[in-house]
Symmetry: none
Subunit: 192 residues, 4 copies
DNA sequence: AATGAATGAGTATTCATTCAT
DNA sequence: GATGAATGAATACTCATTCAT
């Protein structure tokens, strides 16, 4: 009961403030529990943070996976991956920033390691989808799947970030289309 | 004299710890000046941070520009842009992370605005290079140049990040080649 | 428990040093609580100060009021007002100085406003007593009651101050008598 | 040259901020001299403050004295004393507050002693005028002249203070008249 | 299971003062 | 006479964490 309220509040507060600016007081306040209850349920701030980030990664992976159940052409799969990640990046902008970036130095080493591991798993998740597509459909260049996954995420994040401060100039559809094109076909006109 | 020592130390400390974990005490210690000297030269932590970030952006832009002086084919230009940014991302990993990412919530609004402006200028700088290439050489897809610039940066950052924790698996040349390919040609084998 | 210890210590420290020279460290030390406990109980130095000043004003008003319960001739009322204020001014010299004077510029505007309001209330308290006396007994000149209250306080303060550095020359009774005479009859021999 | 500029600036800054909030930086800035110049001319902040307060007391005494040269009836003398002090209290409100009140605990003991001595001299100055009037004209009650002087100053200060926050309700003439009446005749209608 | 008062190490910032030039 | 860069002790305030209840 308390645990869920706390996680919920923590997502909000970490998202709005980043790890260091977020305070346990604020989280307790938002969760409507006493500060002590935080420490009754989570041993430390960084462990609470890890729980939140983990939930974020699991959520995006679960949501993506659910939508890729049926066998689909690779293009469609990539399009759906992009769409699901954009949902997260655009709707929970700050939370996404945290999940994907705020893995900062001020966190205890062991928690930091776990966070890095979570990020690696997410990349592996994407990389595996690409690998399967590569084998089955012979559409993908012979590039390292993990690096490819990383570059997909990087492109999405960076483009979303730009989009978010220039929403008047583009529609969400423009953004999706741009990202899909850039990821699949690159910037250049066929110089294969 | 002091000013330079401080900036130098600040780059180190901010790079190693990020904005919030970095302490003015530590910076003073590393710069071998008294704490008061920091405040004699910079009005606040956030202003010092801005100075450092600004120097970073100016450095990467200056270095890139210097290498693009002569008229070059677009491919070569992009390749050089990538190489220069990789130099920064790989050699001064943490510094690059700060310059490109740590534009976080706990900074006074006015400094934050200036930082965002700096980031915008850097994107414009890259976008202009792309625009010129697009016009002259008709090689680029008709994509928004700013979004394209953003996606280039995002790709580089994310790939470098992955590379840095898997250096045993790739060479720097592999990385450069991967990024260049992904950016120019995308992941798919010619589905134009 | 802590709260009371803190207020008690704060009265001492503010009294001895004035607002600006008083340090939160010193207050914590005297209250025998950790520095954090100060901020757990009071949001800021100025709020703590306000609490102390408020307590002072309330104390002097309560004590005075308690002694004016029964209907008394105006002269007697004024005499008692003087006596109670002298008790405060002489016994808690520094505290009184703070309560009545240290409403200085270096305090946040909102707290400053509250302090001024407290001072106004105290003057109103005295003015009302004078007003009632004026109506009922037709003894008082037709002077503005608030200004009259202000001048009573000013006279008491200034005379006490002088008295305190010249205690060998006067008795407390001399002082009381002097103040009463000056306030009621003025310096001149009947020039009505 | 510098010395005068500094004193001038110091009067302003001390007046606006009180002793503790006033900073040597601000004074140097206003005086348009380097900070070192302050210390070239005055050994310390408190000495500079003393100089300023001394100037203030000397000024009010000189101005008052100049206007009491000719032999005048006591009433007129008191009236003029009030008027000159009101000029100071009302026109240079903060400066007056400093000169007459801000003799606070955070100042080195020896400077503090000198400041108290200055205040005593001012009271003596007023007391002497009263004494002379008492002897010559047999108008004054047989009250201690120093206490009387103190109570005059206290009345003026306190009434001015009240007046300054209620300027819409009274004219300066009202104030002068009130103070004169209260000081000479007291609050009561002849109960001699 | 939950609380919230209490803690104290840590942080940014201020400012009177010094001193080499 | 005058400067201003440099100092460092002092200060208000924050916040993750603890623990008795």
């Amino acid at each position: 009961m308390s645990k869920e309220k706390i996680i919920h509040a923590a997502i909000e507060v970490f998202s709005e403030n980043g790890y260091h600016r977020a305070s346990m007081d604020e989280i307790a306040l938002r969760a409507q529990v006493a500060k002590g209850t935080l420490y009754y349920n989570f041993p430390s701030k960084s462990q609470l943070f890890k729980t939140v980030v983990k939930a974020g990664f699991e959520d995006i992976m679960r949501r993506t996976e659910a939508d890729l159940n049926a066998p689909l052409p690779l293009e469609e799969m990539i399009f759906r991956i992009i769409r699901h990640h954009l949902d997260l990046f655009l709707e929970s902008r700050h939370f996404a920033h945290i999940v994907f970036n705020e893995i900062s130095n001020g966190i205890e080493q062991d928690v930091l390691d776990e966070l890095k591991q979570l990020r690696r798993e997410h990349l592996n998740f994407l990389a595996k989808i690409l690998e399967e597509g590569k084998c089955e459909q012979n559409l993908l260049r012979d590039l390292d799947a993990n690096l490819a996954a990383a570059s997909i995420v990087g492109t999405m994040e960076s483009a979303c970030n730009y989009y978010l401060s220039h929403q008047d100039e583009y529609s969400r559809q423009d953004l999706e289309h741009f990202i899909f094109t850039v990821i699949t076909k690159g910037l250049f006109i066929s110089i294969d």
